[in-house]
Amino acid sequence: MKFTSVFDIIGPVMIGPSSSHTAGAARIGRAARDLFGRQPKWAKIYLYGSFAETYRGHGTDVAIVGGLLDYDTHDERIKTAFEDAEKAGLSFEFIPEEAHKEHPNTTRIVMGDDEGEMSVEGISIGGGKIEISEVNGFKLRLTGGMPAILVVHDDRAGCIANVANCLAMHDVNIGHMEVSRIERGLTALMVIEVDQNIEDRVLQQISYIPHITKVSKINN
């Protein structure tokens, strides 16, 4: 079930004109910023399908940039996101792609600063609802409907148990968990959906666990 709440249907409260192309786009941008952990200094925003064809008319561009600036769907500042980005030291570029993705409203945001880079792919599935479908080349399915932690780690025995233990110590309940890896013995990714927003100190503790290379989160 992709849509779980009545407020996915009657909602969100948002700045027009399009729930999928404006509100959904803002949410993908904001989720990307959350995952990156801070405001990036630059972003290359690849657009696919209907996003690529109609992004200017729908304000998809200002919405994604607004999301990268941490604006919510109903934030009136979305309209001035381009000017705001310049002031905030965020440069950006839009690249409409001809390639077809599985879903018509797909964007891939490659962003970074002096300390690192990250690639996040998101899809806008209708009514402002989104899914994050890829992070740094890892396929996943994250709805953004629940807070979640993403842990990139070496593919070693005990990593998953250590992270689960750390969460248990902080009384954090795991609602759903997925693990995947690109190649056996190399890098792996844990996607952990949890019941409440996670404090930064918990993430920091996870990052101290051996073989953990990166920890990020999406708040609800």
Binding site: G16, P17, H21, E53, T54, G57, G128
Partner: protein
Amino acid sequence: MDVLFQNVRELVERAEQEGKLISEIMIEQEIGITGRSREEIMKQMDRNLTVMEEAVERGLNGVHSVTGLTGGDAVLLQKYIASGKSLAGDLLLDAVSKAVATNEVNAAMGTICATPTAGSAGVVPGTLFAIQHKLNPTREQMINFLFTSGAFGFVVANNASISGAAGGCQAEVGSAAGMAAAAIVEMAGGTPQQCAEGFAITLKNMLGLVCDPVAGLVEVPCVKRNAMGAANAIVAADMALAGITSRIPCDEVIGAMYRIGESMNPDLKETARGGLAATPTGKALAAKIFGGAVVQGQ
């Protein structure tokens, strides 16, 4: 997770067996799934209702989009109603004008509440604030109108689509109109089954509707499609309340909508490459708005 219904049949059966309104089943499911309190859920829907009221009010005062393609039609309709010359009837045109008002605000990048999407945000509030004057509902009944709409939208979103890019305008304004029809039937005292009939009759008449926004903007023809979605919803609700049923069950109509959306050419699914967007005037408008840099459609 406590899912009480996955399709309209289950929704109606549960409501009729328990002697409850559709809106009540939706509220109970929301409590079960999210673990939030009834009070919290009612409060959030109350806030959404307020956003809808403010958007209609703003639109009825007259707004215009940045491109100038849309705006001011809600005002024209209200003046026409006031002249007493309306052929369709005041209630129907009032609903149409309020649906238009909401979408004019949306096109002007104003604040709206998506129902189920922004492009189709006019239909549900448009009909609600028009029949309000006829049925004099309480605030709680008005909030329930949104839960009933939401219950049907929930089924469509999970079994078909509410996205124009995925299913065409039938998935957006079509779904919105069906949702509104079902909610009108409930508010007017119809049975849960009659709500489903109202939804089915409405959506059947929206099947095949393509999403072909001129210049990719949510303006032409979106605003007027909301107008007709509102009219469709009220007429279908009256038909259902009169005892007329749909020969094709509601869930099968939703299934048909999904398959039609799947087989629709991508040019007709919010890419601005086909339909009205690809007419000579549609293309000329796109060129004018974007300075000739992008001429969409062939």
